[in-house]
Symmetry: C2
């Protein structure tokens, strides 16, 4: 059959960039550069098919040997050198090159073609015995190590001994005679270790090296890397055999790496470093400090000019920033590699916008160039990337951002110090509703326990406050006001810094940076908005959050959680009074106190979102969340009793609260008495909330503010729950319209967050103006995973064992949960074609999930304010990836 | 149009029993009896259509009046009396009669047709002024109350006054003159209350009475009754207008009720009671004690003979036991009513079998005649139904049966007394694994907390032991060895009796009865087995349960829970050691101790089930369930600390355990680290269990016992979990076959108990030999209901508010959970056509759920041993109700 080997040389290549799967990234790009007329060291690529053949048969296709010989002939023609020639020997390298870069995972052999005889030819040709013997020394060393499997250390030892005996500090201080000696010693080592001679036949060298490189696809290192990075085994690697060029042939030679634009800032400037009289490894090894390109312009103006032109041609051709490598051999520039350059998010945004200006790409392409998930880097205060950090612990990145402050261990102390104008970090084993005022006062929150939906995590995200939760290494002693991590002790007042985006806990104060939204960021967002059809709303519980969300482009509030308002310092006592109430009277009294406060909350949010819809979810969590911590109280009561306190009344009162907590405690609170179940069994609470919402709406309308409140009923499993509660909402709305003498629009809808709700969506939709999929809870019930428990106890092991690809609480499980969403939407719209459908789980701000929401026909996604831009971009990309939509609807330009 | 009114008289009726929907139950049966030539008081039925018309239009169809007149004429013809005639007045009653009986819910008026004039005619005709004036008195009273809406009490007061003034003890002591006086006083009362005269025109009386009876369909009482009993409003009621017959015309008159067979035992004998010279109300009111039919045979042999013949004809005609009412007027027998007789389960079984013998019905019909759910009455020890009971509290009927014994409050004490041969009831706030030995020793278990799946409930059911859980009225003080209920105090040693089937807690010792399986029961079961295609297996964890299950007809074990074996007294310490182990070595040691014990367990069960499949589920609950109770330990440690005990080591040790419990505790254990998640993260536990199963199997095969072990992996959400664990099972099986030198068959399958598993059933089925739907957990996740919390906190309110029809943990939710089952089966069989599918949740023994399982194509159901007969019968009924299957496959006779 044949066709396994692809030749390349300037203007003559049989491959191209499109053949990446067959030639690997390196091979495909070498072919592409060659075809662009760019000077590359000639060579050929043995395709990935051969790798697969080899993996399967432990042998090569019949014609391969012949093909290699033929291509080697072409290389000889192109260079005028001959492989194994005594006068003018051709030297080649053998390198792996998979479809995607797997840096350092597979093997490389350089300088193949040298032997005791040809090395002399090289000396003659280059007039540089040191270069020739250094190359020979490298060949024997790499061959012994990579091809024959002798430990690298044994070669290094011989080099060290040689250096010691010659009093040489660096390799460079060795003379060519020393290197020649080393070659002999290496050959002896090979014979001793493997009982064979270093092959003097260049063809034998080449075959063995190709063999070794193909085999390295299946070495342990590479196999593990593929597992971690989800690279399929059947992709295989290609092998590139390429003429050696030498950057170390004197001061008219050199080597370097660069980017066509600044990868940190995105600025349009060729950017990189080089070294004269050096090989590629020298730039990487960092023994000599490389110089910036500005110096190359001075030292070798012509070469520099050629380089600028060549890489510009590459960027124009690939229409993206290129990360390139080059070597200068005796004043002649060779490009060795080019690939898409990695860049920061900030740079990505700038480059995308600039390239649109430069007409290199269009807006659609620009939108595809920025990874939505990385946008968050631009939106939170962040640790200064230049700072040196002493990270002493890691926890869950529960709420992004960065915060620095003095450690405190109680909420009261946090408030105290904050009032004195000090910045504090609240450190707790875990937080409870009673810590709210302290959390509000602190810059950031750090807890030893709890997952991504722990109290600390949820409240912090609600507050837009940096939080690291579940930092299990922390041994917190709240009484002694200290914590310990691996023997390190921190006391109240000590400074620490939290990196909430990465979960890093850092010693001392670290400079943080306020994000500045670049004009490019804003431009991209504008383009995204032009293209996307999926709405983007925000989850926000306070006027401040609502404001931030609107700034970041939210088109409404998709989820306003009313319970967080209950945790407020001046409210919690009334909430507790309401819960502990033994008669209707006392409960009513407490609710009457709470109502005006809630009304003001809603007025604030509705006002901020003037003209946009605001979905307000009625009370969701079980009541015991608002009561004091059970175990602390239990211990306290027990202590009082053991101490035989005189104050019997105090004990009695505490015991009463304790009893009420016991009554309310649940085995599985997640599946317990919460959501609409509370609304049905304690109607007065929901009625108070609905009243507060509609009074707020009525009052604002009288002030001429346009408001669109929407009431959302949580945790519905059954259409009758919704119809029962919907009736009450409609009744209260009517009452308030009459009382206030004003009409207002409103909707009543429900969360779809239980599997049964998705199944019965056709019936539920008849009672609902809208559905909002609560994918946090839906993931919990569909998988039977309690997030708090699962993320701490077994999800990491599941991901490690490849049972799960991702944490389903972060990335929507399209296969399971996603089917419920699809079913819910289809069935819901079947009976209510005007049904508005959105998502308000955390997946609403995760790019792949947002795209899925678009695909299954949702009207909008809703996410935390800082994820709004992510969702906007992902929504735009979703439609761009949906080719049919593109051709049918949008881009007729 | 017309056709609203249907006449009936002996041998002349225009309706029939088939017209129940139109004529109501009473009307249809009167027509049917008339057509059978049975003497009934002539009359006519106004159809339910009129009721609906009336409800809709608040008026009657045009032709109704005419039709009534025409039919009244026919009645006059049949009786030779005339309505309103002065000489020979026709008297009629007006009664409601809906499709199903709604006893006492709607209104009745008797003796219509009497007036100041016609009453004199009646006196003349009957020569009985007392009878006549008593009838007139009743008419005016009922008319005033029912038709005109005057409170009944006001009439009763007048009667009381009259009795007082006449020194009469009972109504019967009043003379006809007194009754005549009362008629006048009643008429005055009507005029005073309503400002109208009691109508003297019989037609006016009749029309107003019909009006009132139709209107009573929508009275509050009736509406509520319909709601509770799920009777649709649109069924409406019919109205029966019928000639009055009088059982109080002297000693040649009388009235009675009876059954064609004994409703308690099923014995074939006419069975009933009567009173001479009495009206129907007198039998019901219980003022005079009625006589058995044997006396009627003596007193009125001819009438008795006629009655026997008539009701025999009715039974033969209806082919079922009849519950009938009759009146004898001057020696003439009239049948007033007949309907299907209610009976005990025992009677139902006997009657069904007897009727097959008598060739009245066939086997299929016989199987339909017994309500499967009621079979459990036959299977558990029960409270003697004759006993007088002092029920002082009620809880959840967690495990059926009855038990009597002395109260104890600790497991140790239970064992102590039981060893002395005493019967005890263990009373606890709630039980924990540490109470197992006490539970085993006790006759029954009573707890103040916990639901139908609480530890106490599950373990009790597993042990086949009577248990009442969640008896919230109980204030248990375990230290003081007493409990209190509403002021009543019970101490250790006091006797109580538990009725686990009804949740009743009874004071003192109550006789209980051992069930004896009747030959009829066994015959019915045999017939059921001949017909059904759905397999029936049992959930059993011990050899004893397995044996019982086999006796009751189980065809295998569908679920053997291995964790209950871990709770055994001598095992728990090793289980705890395994969990607390800090290194591999200690854990292995503990597992090695446990393995032989588990092996013996499995040998016992496999041996009992020789020749049948036994599905063994690997460890399912979270590990913390096996550790001591957290809060008790917390308090203990705290106390030790406060007491400043010298014994530091003790504190440290306890603290270590406490810490481990804290580590293992979960927010929502139901959704936590359990099931296959444990198997994946702690493979050594599952491996030990699998090894024990297969070693048991191998050893039994060597003893020539045929065994079919099947390993079931719980809580799979993802096919990869199953493939991961399946591999391990196969490996262990191979090892043991080699070690023991024997081959054995086995299967590996999984529970489908999470919504995601149902969705991904196609993938999971590729790794599974069988699916077993765990509908307990599936109901929890599909609804988002934690059973323990929901059944105590809101399901009762939901049922009361009609949001749920049934507790979904008792009756399978076909609309939600059922869809997941269907989907799981369809998808699973799509990729694995040999997949065996069953259910092992508690629904497997609930009749409507069993039928659903048949309909969706399951291979078998599995339930607790005592529910096996229920499932067998329900499975037979399922196929009988599936008409297509009947005509296509089975009954070609």
């Amino acid at each position: 059959m044949g066709g396994y080997v692809y030749f390349f040389a300037q203007n003559k290549a049989s491959g191209s960039a499109k053949m990446r799967n067959l030639l690997g990234g390196k091979g495909a790009n070498l072919a592409e550069m060659a075809n662009l007329g760019i000077r590359v060291p000639p060579g050929f690529t043995i395709s990935t098919e051969v790798c697969n053949y080899y993996t399967e048969h432990h042998n090569y296709p019949e014609d391969l040997e012949t093909e290699i010989r033929e291509n080697l002939n072409k290389v000889e023609e192109a260079t005028g050198k001959r492989f194994g020639d005594i006068q003018n020997p051709l030297l080649v390298s053998v390198r792996s090159g998979a479809r995607v870069s797997m840096p350092g995972m597979m093997d490389t052999v350089l300088d193949l073609g040298l032997s005791d005889i040809t090395v002399e030819g090289l000396v003659e040709e280059t007039e540089n015995p040191r270069l020739a013997y250094d190359a020979y020394r490298r060949l024997v060393q790499m061959f012994g190590n990579v091809v024959l499997g002798i430990e690298g250390e044994k070669f290094e030892e011989l080099i060290e001994e040689k250096k010691k005996s010659k009093d040489a500090k660096e390799d460079i201080d060795l003379a060519w005679q020393d290197l020649k000696g080393l070659v002999d010693e290496f050959k002896e080592l090979i014979e001793k270790e493997k009982g064979i001679q270093f092959p003097q036949d260049p063809f034998k060298q080449l075959n063995m090296a190709i063999d070794a490189v193909f085999a390295s696809w299946n070495n342990k290192r590479a196999v593990n890397y593929r597992k971690i990075n989800k690279i399929p085994e059947h992709w295989g690697t290609a092998v590139n055999v390429q003429v050696m060029v030498f950057g170390n042939m004197g001061n008219d030679s050199g080597t370097g790496v660069g980017f066509t634009r600044n990868p940190a800032t995105g600025k349009k400037e060729i950017y990189g470093e080089y070294l004269l009289n050096a090989q590629g490894e020298d730039v990487v090894a960092g023994i000599r400090t490389p110089h910036p390109f500005s110096k190359l312009k001075e030292e070798m103006p012509q070469v520099y000019q050629e380089l600028v032109e060549v890489v510009q041609r590459l960027e124009d051709h690939y229409k993206d920033v290129q990360d390139f490598e080059f070597t200068i051999e005796k004043g002649k520039l060779y490009l060795l590699q080019t690939r898409t350059g990695k860049r920061t998010t900030q740079a990505a945004a700038k480059i995308a916008c600039d390239m649109v200006e430069e007409r290199l790409i269009d807006k659609k392409e620009a939108l595809m160039r920025v990874e939505p998930g990385q946008l968050k880097q631009l939106l939170h205060r962040g640790i200064d990337p230049e700072a040196e950090l002493e990270v002493f612990a890691r926890g869950l990145p529960a709420s992004p951002g960065a915060a620095t402050g003095a450690i405190v261990f109680t909420a009261d102390r946090a408030v105290e110090l904050a009032q004195d104008g000090r910045k504090v970090i609240l450190v707790r084993k875990e937080t409870s509703p009673e810590d709210i005022h302290g959390m509000a006062a602190a810059e950031g929150i750090l807890t030893a326990r709890g997952g991504m939906t722990s109290h600390a995590a949820i409240v912090s995200r609600g507050m837009g406050k940096c939080c690291i939760a579940g930092c299990e290494a922390l041994k917190v002693d709240e009484k002694k006001k200290r914590f310990e991590v691996d023997g390190l002790v921190f006391k109240e007042g000590d400074f620490i810094t939290l990196d909430g985006s990465a979960g890093r806990v850092i010693k001392g104060e670290v400079p943080t940076l306020e994000p500045e939204l670049s004009s490019e960021f804003k431009k991209l967002m504008r383009w995204a908005d032009e293209i996307r059809t999926l709405g983007v709303r925000a989850n926000a519980d306070t006027p401040e959050d609502a404001k931030k969300a609107r700034e970041l482009g939210a088109e409404g509030i998709g989820l306003c959680r009313t319970e967080h308002m209950f945790f407020g310092e001046e409210r919690l006592p009334y909430v507790q009074k309401m819960i502990l109430a033994e008669d209707e009277e006392v409960r009513k009294e407490a609710l009457e106190k709470l109502e005006p406060m809630q009304r003001e909350d809603f007025k604030g949010i509705l006002r901020e979102m003037e003209g946009l819809p605001v979905i307000i979810r009625l009370l969701d969590p079980p009541l015991h969340e608002f009561l004091p911590h059970y175990e602390s109280l239990l211990l306290e009561v027990n202590k009082l009793k053991l101490e035989k306190t005189e104050d019997k009344e105090k004990i009695q009162e505490k015991e009463k609260i304790l009893q009420r907590i016991v009554d309310l405690r649940e085995v599985n609170p997640m599946l317990g008495h919460r959501g609409c179940r509370l609304g049905i069994t304690f109607p007065e609470v929901y009625n108070m909330q609905v009243r507060a919402v509609f009074e707020a709406a009525a009052e604002l309308i009288l002030e001429d503010v346009k408001v669109y409140p929407e009431i959302m009923i949580p945790l519905v499993a059954n259409e009758k729950e919704l119809s029962f509660l919907r009736k009450q909402v409609i009744e209260v709305a009517g009452e308030i319209m009459r009382e206030k003498g004003v009409e207002f629009e409103y909707k009543v809808g429900t969360m779809i967050e239980l599997p049964r709700a998705a199944f019965c969506a056709d019936k539920i939709a008849q009672e609902a103006d809208f559905f909002s999929f609560g994918t946090n809870d839906l993931t919990q019930t569909t998988f039977g995973f309690s997030r708090d428990d699962a993320e701490a106890k077994f999800i990491p092991a599941y991901i490690e064992k490849k049972i799960l690809e991702d944490d389903p609480f972060e990335v929507l499980d399209q296969e399971g949960v996603g089917q419920l969403l699809k079913m819910g939407i289809e069935r819901g719209r079947k009976t209510n074609k005007d049904l508005e459908v959105g998502i308000c789980g955390e997946h609403g701000g995760e790019p792949s999930s947002v795209k899925f929401c678009y695909q299954i026909g949702m009207d909008y996604v809703s996410c935390s304010p800082y994820r709004v831009p992510i969702a906007r971009l992902a929504a735009a990309q979703a439609i761009l990836e949906d080719r049919k939509a593109i051709s049918d609807k949008f881009f007729k330009e």
